[in-house]
Amino acid sequence: MPSELTRLLLPGGIAIALAATVGWQWSDASGLAGERAAWRERLAADSATLRSARQVAQGVTDSLAALLDGRAARDSASDRPFIVISIADNRLWYRRGEEVLFETRVATGSGKFLEKTGGGGEQWKFETPRGRLVVQRKDIEPAWVPPDWHYVEAAQKRKLELLRLQKGMEVPAAAGAVVTISGSNVVTRYPDGREVPFEVKDGQEIRVGNKLIMPPFGTNQRRYTGVLGANRLYLGDGYGIHGTDAPWTIGQSVSHGCIRVRNEDIETLFRIVDLGTPVYVY
């Protein structure tokens, strides 16, 4: 009997150990199967999220493509040139889309201030306006009609008193003559009745004693010729792109707000730029 028991011990022990192993393996496999089921669910959810994200992305991409197609069609239909002016760089570009048709240096507003007459703390600021302007008029041999600030500035520079001349006013001058308005001229009227119109230009304004005379608008003495070059592209509100009799100022911020270019450049621009062309100043 003991020897029979001994012969059963080894296979019995192995059987018990195997049974324990199989039990653990079963439990482990069940656990893994549970984990697999959870991951399958998670994958299904992730796949659904992915499909949804892709659908949304595709929708946005389609909208973008449609917008770009529409823009391309519109751009080709209205491929209109325009002017861009950089105040910071004192530079002008005449462009069609990205293509630069003409490029040159300019002078733009100085950004300086000038006190207005009459007190009140009001000031002129000499800056080129930013934003979108339009070529409203193309002028040949443009004359400059100086705004009031020109005379205020000239009087201040020369330490003279500013006098706004009006119709009917007579300003006593030397030898019994008077400075007055006759027709469309500011004239010196001598005691014998002779009238001599003033000839003026920038820097040579009418001066009587310690007074600098500001002629009224509409008189010939309120028009300077030859200072704006051969042409001007008028942009409205007194601003324009024009030539200059001071070419050394080009490339600097020195103007009173207009955009100055060299005389040969304004002739080119006058030739190639159409009326209605947008001008973007930035």
Binding site: A33, D46, R130
Partner: protein
């Protein structure tokens, strides 16, 4: 049948079952690895799709701004983050381009405040002029713009105008 034979038979049967379970375990583990990888890949692809949608959404808004009539459209900024390219635009006209250093998130941001050396955007983001002492990457939320470009861009912006980063 002798008990010993029964035990040996049981051992054999258990060994077969154990081997089967071992094989099933290996198969389950391999399947789990594949499922995890597929799930990770799906999550990653969904994140990519969301990012692509976000970039396209910003571009869509930007293109809509670019497509506006330049007469009415205010100026805006656009920043291509991958290229570090900042542009000042109005309608579909690009006025100025500048290469910048940026550490800002994608998105559409309104300009809140403009100062001589700062353009502050919603969300605490900011454009600043680069200085010679600047080294290394800019601080989080900052776009460092070359001085000349900053000075040229700043006067053209107003609070409420938009910046598109994509």
């Amino acid at each position: 049948m002798s008990p010993r034979l029964i035990l040996l038979g049981a051992v054999g049967a258990l060994a077969v079952v154990s081997a089967g379970l071992l094989a099933r375990r290996r198969a389950l583990q391999e399947e789990l690895v594949a499922l995890r990888a597929a799930s990770d890949s799906a999550v990653e692809a969904a994140a990519d799709a969301r990012l692509a949608a976000e970039v396209d959404r910003i571009r869509l808004a930007l293109e809509a701004a670019r497509g506006e009539d330049a007469q009415r459209a205010p100026a805006h900024l656009a920043l291509v983050l991958g290229e570090g390219l900042l542009t000042l635009e109005r309608g579909d006209i690009v006025f100025r381009s500048a290469t910048v250093q940026a550490d800002v998130p994608r998105g559409i941001h309104a300009i809140e405040r403009i100062e001589p050396r700062l353009i502050a955007l919603a969300g605490g983001l900011r454009l600043t002029p680069a200085t010679p002492s600047d080294t290394g990457a800019p601080a989080a939320g900052t776009i460092r713009v070359p001085r000349a470009d900053f000075d040229a861009i700043r006067p053209n912006l107003q609070p409420g105008q938009m910046a598109y980063f994509f």
